[in-house]
Protein backbone atom coordinates (compact mmCIF):
# COMPACT_ATOMS: atom_id res chain seq x y z
CA UNK A 1 0.00 0.00 0.00
CA UNK A 2 1.23 3.48 -0.92
CA UNK A 3 0.12 6.49 1.15
CA UNK A 4 0.56 10.14 0.18
CA UNK A 5 0.80 12.34 3.28
CA UNK A 6 -0.02 16.05 3.47
CA UNK A 7 1.10 18.25 6.39
CA UNK A 8 -0.10 21.88 6.62
CA UNK A 9 -0.89 22.33 10.32
CA UNK A 10 1.46 25.25 10.96
CA UNK A 11 4.28 26.81 8.96
CA UNK A 12 5.62 23.84 7.01
CA UNK A 13 4.07 22.43 3.84
CA UNK A 14 5.20 18.81 3.83
CA UNK A 15 4.37 16.08 1.31
CA UNK A 16 5.63 12.49 1.31
CA UNK A 17 4.88 9.05 -0.05
CA UNK A 18 5.32 6.03 2.20
CA UNK A 19 5.06 2.42 1.07
CA UNK A 20 4.05 -0.39 3.40
CA UNK A 21 7.04 -2.51 2.34
CA UNK A 22 9.65 0.02 1.28
CA UNK A 23 9.02 2.75 3.84
CA UNK A 24 9.62 6.35 2.83
CA UNK A 25 9.85 6.64 -0.96
CA UNK A 26 9.90 10.41 -1.50
CA UNK A 27 9.30 13.61 0.38
CA UNK A 28 9.16 17.32 -0.33
CA UNK A 29 8.99 20.19 2.13
CA UNK A 30 8.69 23.93 2.15
CA UNK A 31 9.38 25.79 5.39
CA UNK A 32 7.91 29.25 5.90
CA UNK A 33 10.26 30.06 8.76
CA UNK A 34 11.73 33.09 6.96
CA UNK A 35 8.24 34.45 6.23
CA UNK A 36 7.36 34.50 9.91
CA UNK A 37 10.76 35.22 11.49
CA UNK A 38 10.36 38.98 11.25
CA UNK A 39 7.09 38.81 13.21
CA UNK A 40 8.57 36.74 16.03
CA UNK A 41 5.99 33.98 15.57
CA UNK A 42 3.72 32.37 13.03
CA UNK A 43 1.15 34.69 11.42
CA UNK A 44 -1.78 32.31 10.77
CA UNK A 45 -3.20 34.05 7.69
CA UNK A 46 0.21 34.26 6.00
CA UNK A 47 0.75 30.57 6.74
CA UNK A 48 -2.57 29.61 5.09
CA UNK A 49 -1.83 31.74 2.05
CA UNK A 50 1.52 30.13 1.55
CA UNK A 51 0.17 26.57 1.89
CA UNK A 52 -2.38 27.05 -0.89
CA UNK A 53 0.38 28.22 -3.23
CA UNK A 54 2.88 25.50 -2.39
CA UNK A 55 0.80 22.40 -1.94
CA UNK A 56 0.20 21.20 -5.51
CA UNK A 57 3.70 21.94 -6.82
CA UNK A 58 5.09 19.97 -3.84
CA UNK A 59 2.72 17.04 -4.50
CA UNK A 60 3.72 17.02 -8.17
CA UNK A 61 7.41 17.14 -7.28
CA UNK A 62 7.00 14.33 -4.75
CA UNK A 63 5.26 12.09 -7.30
CA UNK A 64 8.00 12.84 -9.84
CA UNK A 65 10.74 11.96 -7.36
CA UNK A 66 8.97 8.69 -6.59
CA UNK A 67 8.39 8.12 -10.31
CA UNK A 68 4.73 7.50 -9.54
CA UNK A 69 1.44 8.74 -10.94
CA UNK A 70 -1.35 10.01 -8.72
CA UNK A 71 -3.33 6.88 -9.53
CA UNK A 72 -0.57 4.69 -8.04
CA UNK A 73 -1.41 6.16 -4.63
CA UNK A 74 -3.75 3.94 -2.60
CA UNK A 75 -4.60 6.25 0.30
CA UNK A 76 -4.45 9.98 0.98
CA UNK A 77 -3.48 11.05 4.52
CA UNK A 78 -3.65 14.63 5.80
CA UNK A 79 -3.17 16.39 9.13
CA UNK A 80 -6.64 17.06 10.56
CA UNK A 81 -5.34 18.62 13.80
CA UNK A 82 -4.23 19.97 16.13
CA UNK A 83 -2.96 23.16 14.51
CA UNK A 84 -3.98 26.45 12.92
CA UNK A 85 -7.52 26.14 11.57
CA UNK A 86 -6.96 27.99 8.29
CA UNK A 87 -3.71 26.16 7.61
CA UNK A 88 -5.27 22.77 8.42
CA UNK A 89 -8.14 23.45 6.01
CA UNK A 90 -5.78 23.82 3.04
CA UNK A 91 -4.26 20.36 3.48
CA UNK A 92 -7.56 18.76 4.45
CA UNK A 93 -9.41 20.29 1.49
CA UNK A 94 -6.78 19.22 -1.03
CA UNK A 95 -6.37 15.79 0.55
CA UNK A 96 -10.08 15.04 0.81
CA UNK A 97 -10.79 16.39 -2.69
CA UNK A 98 -8.02 14.33 -4.25
CA UNK A 99 -9.31 11.23 -2.49
CA UNK A 100 -12.91 11.97 -3.44
CA UNK A 101 -12.07 12.69 -7.07
CA UNK A 102 -9.91 9.57 -7.38
CA UNK A 103 -12.38 7.37 -5.45
CA UNK A 104 -9.61 6.46 -2.99
CA UNK A 105 -9.86 6.33 0.80
CA UNK A 106 -8.43 9.06 3.02
CA UNK A 107 -7.21 9.19 6.62
CA UNK A 108 -7.44 12.14 9.03
CA UNK A 109 -4.14 12.13 10.93
CA UNK A 110 -3.48 13.50 14.43
CA UNK A 111 -0.36 15.65 14.14
CA UNK A 112 1.07 14.65 17.53
CA UNK A 113 0.48 10.96 16.95
CA UNK A 114 2.38 11.37 13.70
CA UNK A 115 5.26 12.95 15.65
CA UNK A 116 5.38 10.14 18.18
CA UNK A 117 5.43 7.46 15.46
CA UNK A 118 8.06 9.30 13.41
CA UNK A 119 11.11 7.58 14.96
CA UNK A 120 9.91 4.26 13.49
CA UNK A 121 9.84 5.47 9.87
CA UNK A 122 13.49 4.76 9.23
CA UNK A 123 13.74 1.86 11.68
CA UNK A 124 11.38 -0.95 10.91
CA UNK A 125 8.73 0.73 8.76
CA UNK A 126 6.33 -0.20 11.58
CA UNK A 127 5.90 0.98 15.17
CA UNK A 128 6.63 -1.43 18.02
CA UNK A 129 4.24 -0.96 20.93
CA UNK A 130 4.18 -0.43 23.84
CA UNK A 131 6.55 2.44 24.55
CA UNK A 132 6.91 5.64 26.52
CA UNK A 133 6.95 8.79 24.41
CA UNK A 134 8.29 12.20 25.31
CA UNK A 135 6.65 14.70 22.95
CA UNK A 136 8.33 18.06 23.03
CA UNK A 137 7.42 20.84 20.59
CA UNK A 138 6.34 24.47 20.40
CA UNK A 139 2.78 23.56 21.32
CA UNK A 140 3.14 20.42 23.40
CA UNK A 141 5.05 18.85 26.26
CA UNK A 142 3.66 15.40 26.89
CA UNK A 143 4.68 12.12 28.45
CA UNK A 144 2.60 9.46 26.80
CA UNK A 145 2.22 5.74 27.33
CA UNK A 146 1.67 4.46 23.78
CA UNK A 147 -0.13 1.13 23.86
CA UNK A 148 -1.13 0.83 20.21
CA UNK A 149 -2.38 2.79 17.22
CA UNK A 150 -4.88 5.38 18.49
CA UNK A 151 -4.39 4.09 22.05
CA UNK A 152 -2.50 6.66 24.07
CA UNK A 153 -2.51 7.41 27.77
CA UNK A 154 -1.18 10.83 28.81
CA UNK A 155 0.95 10.44 31.97
CA UNK A 156 2.09 14.04 32.27
CA UNK A 157 1.99 17.38 30.51
CA UNK A 158 2.97 21.00 30.87
CA UNK A 159 0.77 23.00 33.21
CA UNK A 160 1.74 26.24 31.46
CA UNK A 161 4.16 26.87 28.58
CA UNK A 162 5.10 24.12 26.17
CA UNK A 163 8.83 23.52 26.22
CA UNK A 164 9.39 24.89 22.70
CA UNK A 165 7.32 27.92 23.61
CA UNK A 166 9.54 28.49 26.67
CA UNK A 167 12.61 28.32 24.41
CA UNK A 168 11.07 30.85 21.98
CA UNK A 169 9.96 33.28 24.69
CA UNK A 170 13.27 33.09 26.51
CA UNK A 171 15.15 33.72 23.26
CA UNK A 172 12.96 36.75 22.70
CA UNK A 173 13.70 38.04 26.22
CA UNK A 174 17.42 37.69 25.52
CA UNK A 175 16.97 39.51 22.21
CA UNK A 176 18.13 36.48 20.22
CA UNK A 177 15.42 36.20 17.55
CA UNK A 178 13.09 33.49 16.31
CA UNK A 179 12.80 30.52 16.37
CA UNK A 180 14.47 30.43 19.75
CA UNK A 181 15.35 26.75 20.22
CA UNK A 182 18.35 26.53 17.89
CA UNK A 183 19.63 29.96 19.05
CA UNK A 184 19.62 29.01 22.73
CA UNK A 185 21.18 25.67 21.89
CA UNK A 186 24.03 27.38 20.02
CA UNK A 187 24.68 29.80 22.90
CA UNK A 188 24.73 26.89 25.34
CA UNK A 189 27.30 25.11 23.22
CA UNK A 190 29.44 28.24 23.14
CA UNK A 191 29.09 28.62 26.90
CA UNK A 192 30.26 25.07 27.40
CA UNK A 193 33.18 25.47 25.00
CA UNK A 194 34.32 28.64 26.75
CA UNK A 195 33.62 27.39 30.25
CA UNK A 196 31.04 30.12 30.89
CA UNK A 197 28.38 29.36 33.48
CA UNK A 198 25.95 31.15 35.74
CA UNK A 199 26.66 31.64 39.46
CA UNK A 200 24.08 29.11 40.50
CA UNK A 201 21.78 26.68 38.70
CA UNK A 202 18.27 27.69 37.63
CA UNK A 203 15.26 26.06 39.32
CA UNK A 204 13.87 22.68 38.27
CA UNK A 205 10.14 22.85 38.85
CA UNK A 206 7.67 20.18 40.02
CA UNK A 207 10.55 17.93 41.01
CA UNK A 208 9.78 17.44 44.71
CA UNK A 209 6.45 15.76 44.28
CA UNK A 210 5.80 12.47 42.65
CA UNK A 211 4.64 14.34 39.58
CA UNK A 212 5.04 13.65 35.89
CA UNK A 213 3.77 17.10 34.90
CA UNK A 214 5.91 19.99 33.75
CA UNK A 215 5.99 23.73 34.38
CA UNK A 216 8.25 26.13 32.56
CA UNK A 217 6.75 29.53 33.26
CA UNK A 218 8.59 29.98 36.59
CA UNK A 219 11.86 29.06 34.94
CA UNK A 220 11.13 31.54 32.16
CA UNK A 221 10.61 34.35 34.69
CA UNK A 222 13.69 33.31 36.66
CA UNK A 223 15.69 33.42 33.43
CA UNK A 224 14.45 36.92 32.61
CA UNK A 225 15.29 38.23 36.09
CA UNK A 226 18.73 36.62 36.03
CA UNK A 227 19.42 38.26 32.68
CA UNK A 228 18.16 41.66 33.84
CA UNK A 229 20.45 41.49 36.88
CA UNK A 230 23.44 40.52 34.73
CA UNK A 231 25.78 42.69 32.69
CA UNK A 232 23.51 41.84 29.72
CA UNK A 233 26.51 41.32 27.46
CA UNK A 234 27.34 38.34 25.24
CA UNK A 235 28.90 36.41 28.10
CA UNK A 236 25.86 36.97 30.28
CA UNK A 237 23.59 35.80 27.46
CA UNK A 238 25.64 32.64 27.10
CA UNK A 239 25.55 31.94 30.83
CA UNK A 240 21.80 32.55 31.10
CA UNK A 241 20.90 30.58 27.97
CA UNK A 242 23.04 27.69 29.09
CA UNK A 243 21.58 27.61 32.63
CA UNK A 244 18.07 27.77 31.17
CA UNK A 245 18.65 24.90 28.77
CA UNK A 246 20.29 22.79 31.47
CA UNK A 247 17.27 23.26 33.74
CA UNK A 248 14.86 22.29 30.96
CA UNK A 249 16.82 19.20 29.99
CA UNK A 250 17.31 18.04 33.59
CA UNK A 251 13.57 18.27 34.10
CA UNK A 252 12.70 16.40 30.92
CA UNK A 253 15.20 13.62 31.58
CA UNK A 254 14.16 13.16 35.19
CA UNK A 255 10.46 12.95 34.32
CA UNK A 256 11.23 10.38 31.62
CA UNK A 257 13.15 8.29 34.13
CA UNK A 258 10.28 8.46 36.62
CA UNK A 259 7.71 7.55 33.96
CA UNK A 260 9.79 4.60 32.80
CA UNK A 261 10.05 3.34 36.36
CA UNK A 262 6.39 3.82 37.04
CA UNK A 263 5.16 2.07 33.89
CA UNK A 264 7.91 -0.53 33.64
CA UNK A 265 8.26 0.32 29.94
CA UNK A 266 11.66 -0.41 28.43
CA UNK A 267 11.45 1.74 25.30
CA UNK A 268 11.57 5.53 25.20
CA UNK A 269 10.61 7.34 22.00
CA UNK A 270 11.37 11.04 21.71
CA UNK A 271 9.55 13.22 19.21
CA UNK A 272 8.64 16.79 18.29
CA UNK A 273 10.68 19.81 17.22
CA UNK A 274 12.58 20.14 20.52
CA UNK A 275 13.91 16.59 20.09
CA UNK A 276 16.30 18.12 17.54
CA UNK A 277 18.21 19.62 20.51
CA UNK A 278 21.56 17.81 20.63
CA UNK A 279 22.11 18.20 24.35
CA UNK A 280 18.69 16.69 25.05
CA UNK A 281 19.37 13.86 22.60
CA UNK A 282 22.65 12.91 24.21
CA UNK A 283 21.25 13.09 27.75
CA UNK A 284 18.31 10.88 26.83
CA UNK A 285 20.53 8.49 24.90
CA UNK A 286 22.48 7.99 28.11
CA UNK A 287 19.41 6.23 29.53
CA UNK A 288 20.47 3.26 27.41
CA UNK A 289 23.08 2.55 30.07
CA UNK A 290 20.12 1.95 32.41
CA UNK A 291 18.68 -0.73 30.12
CA UNK A 292 16.28 1.53 28.21
CA UNK A 293 16.00 1.39 24.43
CA UNK A 294 15.96 5.01 23.25
CA UNK A 295 14.46 5.86 19.85
CA UNK A 296 15.32 9.28 18.50
CA UNK A 297 13.94 10.46 15.16
CA UNK A 298 16.39 11.54 12.47
CA UNK A 299 16.86 15.30 12.72
CA UNK A 300 14.87 15.97 9.54
CA UNK A 301 11.91 14.12 11.10
CA UNK A 302 11.92 16.11 14.36
CA UNK A 303 10.27 19.17 12.85
CA UNK A 304 6.98 19.07 10.95
CA UNK A 305 7.08 17.03 7.76
CA UNK A 306 4.92 15.05 5.38
CA UNK A 307 6.69 11.73 5.98
CA UNK A 308 5.31 11.33 9.48
CA UNK A 309 1.78 12.09 8.24
CA UNK A 310 2.05 9.52 5.47
CA UNK A 311 3.50 6.99 7.94
CA UNK A 312 0.80 7.56 10.58
CA UNK A 313 -1.81 7.49 7.81
CA UNK A 314 -0.49 4.12 6.68
CA UNK A 315 -0.76 2.68 10.22
CA UNK A 316 -4.40 3.78 10.42
CA UNK A 317 -5.16 2.58 6.90
CA UNK A 318 -3.82 -0.86 7.79
CA UNK A 319 -6.49 -1.14 10.49
CA UNK A 320 -9.22 0.45 8.38
CA UNK A 321 -9.45 3.85 10.05
CA UNK A 322 -10.69 5.72 6.99
CA UNK A 323 -12.83 8.85 6.58
CA UNK A 324 -16.40 7.73 6.25
CA UNK A 325 -18.00 10.58 4.29
CA UNK A 326 -17.11 13.42 1.94
CA UNK A 327 -17.06 16.18 4.59
CA UNK A 328 -13.81 18.09 4.95
CA UNK A 329 -13.20 18.23 8.70
CA UNK A 330 -10.39 19.57 10.85
CA UNK A 331 -9.87 19.69 14.63
CA UNK A 332 -7.65 22.65 15.57
CA UNK A 333 -7.79 21.54 19.22
CA UNK A 334 -7.58 17.80 19.41
CA UNK A 335 -6.21 16.29 22.63
CA UNK A 336 -4.08 13.22 21.98
CA UNK A 337 -6.00 11.34 24.65
CA UNK A 338 -9.18 11.81 22.60
CA UNK A 339 -7.65 10.07 19.65
CA UNK A 340 -9.92 7.11 19.50
CA UNK A 341 -11.30 5.68 16.33
CA UNK A 342 -14.82 7.03 15.80
Amino acid sequence: MKVLGIETSCDETGIAIVDQKDGLIAETLHSQVLTHAKYGGVVPELASRDHVQRILPLIRQCLNEADLRLNDIDTLAYTAGPGLVGALFVGAAVGRSLAWALSKPSVAVHHMEAHLLAPFIDQDHAPRFPFLCLLVSGGHTLLVEARGIADYHVLGQSLDDAVGEAFDKTAKQLGLGYPGGPLIERLSEQAQALGVQSDRPFPRSLMAKDSLDFSFSGLKTHTLLAYQRSAQDDTAKMAVASAFQAAVIDTLVEKCRRALQRTGLKTLVVAGGVSANQALRSRLSALQAEGIEVQLPALRLCTDNGAMIAFAGLQHALVGHYDTNAAISVRPRWPLAELSWR
Binding site: S9, C10, D11, H36, Y39, G40, G41, V42, V43, P44, E45, L46, S48, R49, V52, Q53, I55, L56, P57, I59, R60, L70, P82, G83, L84, V85, G86, F89, V90, A92, A93, V94, G95, R96, S97, L98, W100, A101, L102, H111, S137, G138, G139, H140, A162, G164, E165, D168, P179, G273, D304, N325, A326, A327, I328, S329, V330
Partner: protein, 232 residues
Protein backbone atom coordinates in the same frame (compact mmCIF):
# COMPACT_ATOMS: atom_id res chain seq x y z
CA UNK B 1 -19.55 21.13 -23.01
CA UNK B 2 -19.52 19.78 -19.46
CA UNK B 3 -18.31 21.81 -16.49
CA UNK B 4 -18.39 21.44 -12.72
CA UNK B 5 -18.55 24.71 -10.78
CA UNK B 6 -18.12 25.40 -7.08
CA UNK B 7 -18.52 28.62 -5.12
CA UNK B 8 -17.88 28.90 -1.34
CA UNK B 9 -16.43 32.42 -1.04
CA UNK B 10 -19.26 33.95 1.00
CA UNK B 11 -21.93 32.63 3.39
CA UNK B 12 -23.51 30.76 0.45
CA UNK B 13 -22.18 27.35 -0.48
CA UNK B 14 -23.01 25.87 -3.87
CA UNK B 15 -22.01 23.39 -6.54
CA UNK B 16 -23.36 23.22 -10.07
CA UNK B 17 -22.84 21.16 -13.17
CA UNK B 18 -23.34 22.49 -16.69
CA UNK B 19 -24.12 19.93 -19.35
CA UNK B 20 -24.73 21.12 -22.89
CA UNK B 21 -26.86 24.12 -21.97
CA UNK B 22 -28.51 22.74 -18.83
CA UNK B 23 -27.44 23.67 -15.29
CA UNK B 24 -28.15 21.66 -12.14
CA UNK B 25 -27.25 23.31 -8.84
CA UNK B 26 -27.19 22.66 -5.09
CA UNK B 27 -27.23 25.89 -3.10
CA UNK B 28 -27.38 26.54 0.62
CA UNK B 29 -26.74 29.53 2.85
CA UNK B 30 -24.63 27.88 5.51
CA UNK B 31 -21.86 29.98 6.97
CA UNK B 32 -18.98 27.90 8.39
CA UNK B 33 -20.34 24.64 7.00
CA UNK B 34 -18.88 24.90 3.48
CA UNK B 35 -16.17 22.41 4.36
CA UNK B 36 -18.77 19.79 5.19
CA UNK B 37 -21.17 20.53 2.36
CA UNK B 38 -19.16 21.21 -0.76
CA UNK B 39 -18.02 17.72 -1.81
CA UNK B 40 -21.40 16.09 -1.07
CA UNK B 41 -23.03 18.87 -3.12
CA UNK B 42 -20.69 18.22 -6.04
CA UNK B 43 -21.44 14.52 -5.72
CA UNK B 44 -25.19 15.19 -5.84
CA UNK B 45 -25.19 17.40 -8.93
CA UNK B 46 -22.96 14.99 -10.84
CA UNK B 47 -25.17 12.07 -9.84
CA UNK B 48 -28.28 13.94 -10.91
CA UNK B 49 -27.01 14.42 -14.46
CA UNK B 50 -25.24 11.04 -14.42
CA UNK B 51 -21.86 12.47 -15.30
CA UNK B 52 -18.56 11.30 -13.86
CA UNK B 53 -15.59 13.58 -13.21
CA UNK B 54 -13.64 11.97 -16.03
CA UNK B 55 -16.28 13.15 -18.52
CA UNK B 56 -15.86 16.82 -17.61
CA UNK B 57 -14.20 19.37 -19.89
CA UNK B 58 -13.16 21.54 -16.97
CA UNK B 59 -13.83 23.10 -13.63
CA UNK B 60 -14.97 26.63 -12.74
CA UNK B 61 -14.44 28.02 -9.27
CA UNK B 62 -15.15 31.16 -7.27
CA UNK B 63 -11.74 32.73 -6.72
CA UNK B 64 -12.86 35.48 -4.32
CA UNK B 65 -12.92 38.04 -2.95
CA UNK B 66 -14.76 36.90 0.18
CA UNK B 67 -14.08 35.25 3.52
CA UNK B 68 -10.44 34.10 3.47
CA UNK B 69 -11.09 30.54 4.62
CA UNK B 70 -14.11 30.16 2.34
CA UNK B 71 -12.11 31.39 -0.65
CA UNK B 72 -9.28 29.01 0.17
CA UNK B 73 -11.61 26.04 0.55
CA UNK B 74 -13.06 26.85 -2.86
CA UNK B 75 -9.59 27.04 -4.39
CA UNK B 76 -8.12 24.04 -2.56
CA UNK B 77 -11.08 21.78 -3.41
CA UNK B 78 -10.86 22.91 -7.05
CA UNK B 79 -7.12 22.25 -7.09
CA UNK B 80 -7.64 18.75 -5.73
CA UNK B 81 -10.40 17.75 -8.15
CA UNK B 82 -8.69 19.30 -11.16
CA UNK B 83 -5.33 17.73 -10.31
CA UNK B 84 -6.92 14.30 -9.90
CA UNK B 85 -8.50 14.42 -13.37
CA UNK B 86 -6.13 16.74 -15.19
CA UNK B 87 -8.87 19.31 -15.77
CA UNK B 88 -8.31 22.89 -16.89
CA UNK B 89 -9.81 25.57 -14.65
CA UNK B 90 -11.26 29.02 -14.84
CA UNK B 91 -11.66 31.30 -11.80
CA UNK B 92 -14.71 33.54 -11.64
CA UNK B 93 -14.76 36.60 -9.41
CA UNK B 94 -17.42 36.57 -6.74
CA UNK B 95 -18.12 40.24 -7.59
CA UNK B 96 -18.56 39.44 -11.30
CA UNK B 97 -20.85 36.62 -10.17
CA UNK B 98 -23.03 39.16 -8.33
CA UNK B 99 -23.01 41.58 -11.26
CA UNK B 100 -24.20 38.81 -13.59
CA UNK B 101 -27.27 38.35 -11.39
CA UNK B 102 -28.73 41.74 -12.31
CA UNK B 103 -32.26 41.23 -13.67
CA UNK B 104 -32.31 40.91 -17.45
CA UNK B 105 -33.51 44.15 -18.96
CA UNK B 106 -33.78 45.52 -22.51
CA UNK B 107 -30.95 46.77 -24.64
CA UNK B 108 -27.79 48.50 -23.57
CA UNK B 109 -25.32 48.24 -20.72
CA UNK B 110 -26.13 48.44 -17.04
CA UNK B 111 -23.68 50.05 -14.64
CA UNK B 112 -23.49 47.67 -11.68
CA UNK B 113 -21.88 48.33 -8.31
CA UNK B 114 -21.18 44.91 -6.77
CA UNK B 115 -20.08 44.97 -3.14
CA UNK B 116 -19.37 42.29 -0.54
CA UNK B 117 -19.06 43.12 3.16
CA UNK B 118 -15.35 42.71 3.90
CA UNK B 119 -15.75 43.19 7.71
CA UNK B 120 -13.45 45.57 9.57
CA UNK B 121 -15.50 48.47 8.22
CA UNK B 122 -14.64 47.77 4.58
CA UNK B 123 -16.20 46.42 1.40
CA UNK B 124 -14.84 44.49 -1.55
CA UNK B 125 -16.27 46.13 -4.64
CA UNK B 126 -16.16 46.08 -8.39
CA UNK B 127 -17.76 48.31 -11.00
CA UNK B 128 -19.12 46.09 -13.76
CA UNK B 129 -20.70 46.83 -17.12
CA UNK B 130 -23.40 44.26 -17.73
CA UNK B 131 -25.08 43.61 -21.06
CA UNK B 132 -27.74 40.98 -21.62
CA UNK B 133 -26.40 37.44 -22.14
CA UNK B 134 -22.79 38.44 -21.91
CA UNK B 135 -19.99 38.31 -19.38
CA UNK B 136 -19.87 41.33 -17.04
CA UNK B 137 -16.95 43.59 -17.93
CA UNK B 138 -14.91 45.05 -15.10
CA UNK B 139 -14.31 48.78 -15.23
CA UNK B 140 -11.09 49.64 -13.42
CA UNK B 141 -10.03 47.15 -10.72
CA UNK B 142 -11.70 45.33 -7.84
CA UNK B 143 -10.75 46.91 -4.52
CA UNK B 144 -11.17 46.80 -0.76
CA UNK B 145 -12.09 50.17 0.79
CA UNK B 146 -14.25 51.80 3.43
CA UNK B 147 -17.52 53.08 2.03
CA UNK B 148 -16.51 56.57 3.13
CA UNK B 149 -13.20 56.48 1.26
CA UNK B 150 -14.83 55.20 -1.92
CA UNK B 151 -13.85 57.41 -4.86
CA UNK B 152 -15.81 56.63 -8.02
CA UNK B 153 -15.39 58.09 -11.50
CA UNK B 154 -19.03 57.50 -12.29
CA UNK B 155 -21.80 59.26 -10.36
CA UNK B 156 -24.80 57.32 -11.61
CA UNK B 157 -25.05 53.56 -11.40
CA UNK B 158 -28.05 51.41 -12.34
CA UNK B 159 -27.86 48.46 -9.93
CA UNK B 160 -26.37 47.64 -6.54
CA UNK B 161 -25.67 44.00 -5.72
CA UNK B 162 -24.31 42.12 -2.73
CA UNK B 163 -23.91 42.10 1.05
CA UNK B 164 -21.94 45.35 1.06
CA UNK B 165 -25.31 46.99 0.55
CA UNK B 166 -26.62 45.58 3.84
CA UNK B 167 -24.03 47.27 6.03
CA UNK B 168 -23.33 50.42 4.05
CA UNK B 169 -26.52 51.18 2.12
CA UNK B 170 -26.60 54.89 2.94
CA UNK B 171 -23.06 55.93 2.04
CA UNK B 172 -23.12 53.68 -1.03
CA UNK B 173 -26.42 55.11 -2.26
CA UNK B 174 -25.01 58.60 -1.80
CA UNK B 175 -21.99 57.79 -3.96
CA UNK B 176 -23.67 55.68 -6.65
CA UNK B 177 -27.11 57.33 -6.86
CA UNK B 178 -28.69 53.89 -7.03
CA UNK B 179 -32.36 53.82 -6.03
CA UNK B 180 -33.45 51.45 -3.26
CA UNK B 181 -35.57 49.39 -5.68
CA UNK B 182 -32.47 48.72 -7.81
CA UNK B 183 -30.50 47.25 -4.90
CA UNK B 184 -30.33 43.52 -4.11
CA UNK B 185 -28.44 43.36 -0.84
CA UNK B 186 -29.29 39.67 -0.39
CA UNK B 187 -27.63 38.56 -3.61
CA UNK B 188 -24.81 36.06 -3.04
CA UNK B 189 -22.39 34.49 -5.51
CA UNK B 190 -23.63 31.08 -6.67
CA UNK B 191 -22.19 28.18 -8.64
CA UNK B 192 -24.84 28.13 -11.37
CA UNK B 193 -23.70 31.65 -12.33
CA UNK B 194 -20.04 30.63 -11.97
CA UNK B 195 -20.73 27.82 -14.45
CA UNK B 196 -22.60 30.01 -16.94
CA UNK B 197 -19.95 32.74 -16.90
CA UNK B 198 -17.20 30.17 -17.34
CA UNK B 199 -18.93 28.56 -20.31
CA UNK B 200 -19.31 31.95 -22.03
CA UNK B 201 -15.59 32.67 -21.68
CA UNK B 202 -14.18 29.17 -22.06
CA UNK B 203 -13.07 29.41 -25.69
CA UNK B 204 -11.30 32.75 -25.35
CA UNK B 205 -9.98 32.69 -21.81
CA UNK B 206 -6.55 31.52 -20.70
CA UNK B 207 -7.37 28.35 -18.81
CA UNK B 208 -5.46 27.50 -15.63
CA UNK B 209 -3.40 24.50 -14.60
CA UNK B 210 -4.46 23.18 -11.15
CA UNK B 211 -1.58 24.88 -9.30
CA UNK B 212 -2.39 28.17 -11.04
CA UNK B 213 -5.82 28.22 -9.44
CA UNK B 214 -5.22 30.76 -6.66
CA UNK B 215 -7.34 32.99 -4.43
CA UNK B 216 -7.97 36.68 -5.00
CA UNK B 217 -7.99 38.19 -1.51
CA UNK B 218 -7.81 41.94 -2.30
CA UNK B 219 -7.00 42.55 1.38
CA UNK B 220 -3.30 41.98 1.87
CA UNK B 221 -2.42 43.77 5.11
CA UNK B 222 -3.22 40.78 7.29
CA UNK B 223 -0.33 40.65 9.72
CA UNK B 224 -1.70 42.87 12.45
CA UNK B 225 -5.20 41.46 12.48
CA UNK B 226 -4.35 38.46 14.59
CA UNK B 227 -1.80 37.52 17.16
CA UNK B 228 0.99 35.25 16.12
CA UNK B 229 0.75 31.69 17.35
CA UNK B 230 3.43 29.44 18.80
CA UNK B 231 4.31 26.46 16.66
CA UNK B 232 2.47 23.30 17.56
Amino acid sequence: MKLLAIETCTEACSAAVYVDGEVVERYQIAARQHNELILPMAEQVLAEVQISLSQLDGLAFGCGPGAFTGVRICVAVSQGIAFAHDLPLLGISSLANLAAQVPATGQGEQQVFAAIDARMGEIYYGHYLVARNSVPVLSGTEQVVTAEALNLELANFDYGMGSGWQSYAEPLMAKTAIKPEAIDADALPRASVTARLAVMQWQDATLLQPEQAQPVYLRNNVVHQKKTTPKS
